[in-house]
Subunit: 289 residues, 2 copies
């Protein structure tokens, strides 16, 4: 059956009903050890299933970091497929943190891998990189709109080493004079305006909570829409940003932010993670404008 | 047993003995159909094994495009593992065209996934993206040097939509005034100079054959070394560049170029692919300076 709602509309629904917290599923070797799980595909599966159980009903969204599954090869991907199936069954929205990117038929294949309804790696949205130009990801963008799925395009990431490249000034084409990050923001906002059939855009942006958006030349008010442009917001918890700063950091985009937390929740361990999700979800809810 | 030779030295050995041609393994849906294979993980495995057979002894290097395996989920990765094992057994050097990229422990996990000796996805080198800053890939670079493996960092890719971002001018840090592509070239050359223990660097660059390197501010003579910086050179065949232009396109970097061809070889079909590899390998050899 075709999905009738766009990703953007479904995300807005989750925000309204459950809130903006997104729990990372990061089965890093040291967390597996801390959780008493083996550093293997089985360990990663067990870890992911526990996080899904803890998130179900408390948070609306989970975000598996694909790298920690890929590390175990095909067995790791089989583990990820089990975790994705469990998340879907639990009614959680899933964002695959895959940061894929390529061109032509290759990037089309990545889009098909993650956004095809009924596919083994089906998720609601994936992160994607436009280093080869925003035009290079036109096909996954089309796939997303057609199948009720979403993308989050890397724009201004939360790590300091990203600054030089992401603030570089474009000197050719229609975005001349803008920074790389701002040009990606403009293109994504434009795509949502052109293709969204409702008030919620389905192509989002990765905008780190630790970024000085003014320095990057990013106009956050352009995200408000309609159609609105969703934001994947890493950088809370261990990376330094606080939930209480959500409004001051993201301004008009704060209500559109998928607030992601990984280590600060996962370090609670398998016994206490449900409590950690519950309390952090409440904390994020309390910061809603 | 630890590998005793660096990736750069091994690559130079392959160039000397077999030549510079690298055969793409791209089991795209339409090629699977043309080859009479099912559009499934099994089809992708069979396709890859046929390409490996055809390349063995005729070309030194193969480059699986990971997206076309990922499209089939964990079963696709199991197929890729079988293809990688066959390529290793055939003495082929393997470059995974994965274009991964991330930061911190996530990018470390990607490096571990592909560059760990004995791991299920072990290859000789992988392509990687530095959209989050060249500093973000410092850990995979260290892993590569430690384990005799290589990386090819996207710098100036062969697709026209990449131009605006890759020619953007950096305005902060030590690369201020350089383009994004040129700053990545400078950083990679610097890394090889700092870390290579022989005359062949192990961190390469993806520099498309269709790119005007002057416009991108890229100094190809800086790649000559020692230590030399290898180049992954897509853009030949269907994308427009000709083998006979290798010298004029890459100048001093021509002897360092991994000349990749996919569609122009793969379209020969399963019966004629061995002939296609042989004749194109000879053609590339004939263009050697």
């Amino acid at each position: 059956m075709a999905e009738t709602l766009s990703f953007g509309a479904r995300l807005a629904g989750v925000f309204d009903v459950v809130g903006q917290l997104c729990v990372g599923i990061d089965p890093h070797a040291y967390l597996l050890e801390q959780w008493g799980l083996p550093d293997s595909a089985d360990g990663a599966r067990e870890f992911g299933l526990i996080v899904v159980d803890a998130a179900a009903g408390q948070a609306g969204i989970v975000k598996p970091q694909v790298a920690f599954f890929e590390r175990h090869g095909s067995a790791g991907f089989a583990a990820l497929e089990a975790v994705l199936a469990a998340a879907r069954a639990a009614g959680l929205m899933v964002i695959a943190d895959a940061k894929r990117g390529d061109l032509g038929t290759s990037v089309e294949a990545y889009g098909e891998a993650w956004l095809t309804p009924g596919g083994p790696l089906e998720v609601d949205a994936m992160t994607i990189s436009a280093f080869q130009g925003v035009g290079s990801i036109a096909v996954p963008i089309r796939l997303a709109f057609e199948s009720g799925k979403g993308l989050f395009v890397l724009a201004a990431t939360s790590n300091p080493e990203a600054r030089d490249i992401q603030t570089a000034k474009i000197s050719s084409g229609g975005s001349a004079g803008h920074t790389v990050a701002a040009s990606i923001v403009r293109d994504v906002v434009g795509w949502n305006a052109e293709r969204s059939s409702d008030e919620h855009g389905s192509i989002g942006l990765v905008l780190g909570a630790t970024v000085d958006f003014g320095e990057y030349g990013i106009d956050l008010s352009s995200l408000a829409g309609p159609p609105s442009t969703p934001v994947l917001a890493p950088g809370f918890g261990h990376q330094g940003a606080r939930y209480s700063d959500l409004g001051s950091l993201y301004g008009p985009a704060a209500p559109l932010a998928v607030v992601t937390a990984s280590r600060s929740i996962l370090q609670a361990g398998p016994r206490d993670i449900a409590d950690a999700v519950r309390s952090q979800a409440r904390e994020v809810l309390a910061c809603r404008a």
